[in-house]
Symmetry: C2
Subunit: 240 residues, 2 copies
């Protein structure tokens, strides 16, 4: 049994898991992650979560990506948890989603407490049941400022906890993969471009309306990532 | 922020959390745990899980205990996860529940992969949302043989993962409590007796029929615990 964290840059050589359960939000990061893993020969199971998030339209985008990749897609219903999380603007529709930059303190209301740990632990359960030998999620360095569950420290400690919780039960060589955890979203868009990721079929906006708002923290970061790469952003935004 | 593991014996002195989210299965261990915490002055929120377990009748028992204690009770619906866990006799009704002793290797089919980590991480999410300052679960030493997520090592590593995942978000003095983790079920029945726990209103049996079967690993251990304490077992068993 092995349980390690990979935090590589895109050019490094890695072990290629045979079957990875990927937390797939339908957003840009996890979609690039899925394409990145597929390009390295991994079979994929995409796992999405409905926790009553305002932007649950993203789950449909994840399904579309799974179809494009020919991968299995499963949705975990966590709406009974979501109704208890009344302190986040993402799960409480009476709270406004803030405009601005991801790094602003005003973005604190977009924190869903312990979300990545919950999703990753469920992914581990599913991986063991399917005899998959890795779980992966698309946390990146731009998230670190306000989301502590997107840091290398979290990934490392989480991996150690998984190894203890499932001692003797994990498939040989099991890994928790967070390959983008030290990259920026700009890096991820660059990697995705090289992999021909269909960016127009991903969803980022926290507001979850018909088109991307263009002004929430998540949209602002998405726009910046395309602009900084000097490549065309195929997203339709409500605001210029 | 503090995140520590308590693994005390019953006589030790402890900090008294103001509000604890308790994973409440409706079974003997978690019910004694709830009474034990209540006796120490903690306000309680009992959290139960429906993961499609064969013995989901236990959730009704947890609700009854919450009513007796005057505590809030919430049920998290994880049935969409349960249907994927086809390798466990507890979530796959086409697999037989084995008879015998908990420590038998045949009991391996009753493992639900990563279950405690999933439930505890959801409890942490709820605790942060409710501003509760502890989560607690009733793992005990009798579980260690076949359930790696009931060990002190798991509790310690899990706590460190929680601290990283929620750095800056946890209520002051936050704790992950597993006070019975080094005790036997016999110890727990003794503690429960002193606290006047209504054992007849708890549910243990994996088979989840109208009465306790008396022969599955969970029933066998329950019977032993009463017998070893030389006190009356109020449980109605199908087999003598």
């Amino acid at each position: 049994m092995r349980c390690v964290v990979n935090t590589p840059d895109a050019s490094a050589e890695h072990r290629h898991p045979r079957h990875t359960v990927v937390i797939a939000s339908g957003g840009l990061d996890s979609t690039v992650l899925a394409y990145w893993l597929a390009a390295r020969g991994s079979r994929l199971t995409l796992l999405s979560f409905d926790y009553g998030q305002r932007h649950r339209v993203e789950v449909n985008y994840a399904r579309g990506i799974a179809e494009l990749l020919g991968s299995r897609h499963e949705v975990i219903d966590l709406t009974s948890l979501g109704v208890l999380l009344t302190g986040s603007a993402l799960t409480n529709e009476t709270m406004p989603v803030p405009d601005g930059h991801y790094t602003d303190t005003s973005m604190a209301t977009t924190v869903v407490p312990n979300r990545n740990a919950v999703m990753l632990d469920i992914a581990v359960s599913v991986a063991i049941a399917l005899r998959a030998d890795a779980v992966a999620f698309g946390a990146h360095a731009g998230d670190h400022t306000i989301y502590p569950d997107c840091t290398p420290t979290f990934v490392d400690r989480f991996s150690r906890s998984v190894a203890a919780a499932n001692d003797g039960l994990l498939p040989e060589g099991f890994e928790v993969l967070a390959p983008f955890v030290s990259m920026s979203k700009t890096d991820i868009v660059r990697i995705g471009t090289a992999l021909a990721v269909p960016f127009a079929r991903t969803w980022t906006c926290y507001r979850g309306q018909d088109t991307h708002c263009g002004t929430c923290g998540s949209c602002v970061e998405r726009r910046e990532a395309f602009r900084d790469n000097d490549i065309n952003d195929p997203t339709v935004y409500q605001s210029a």
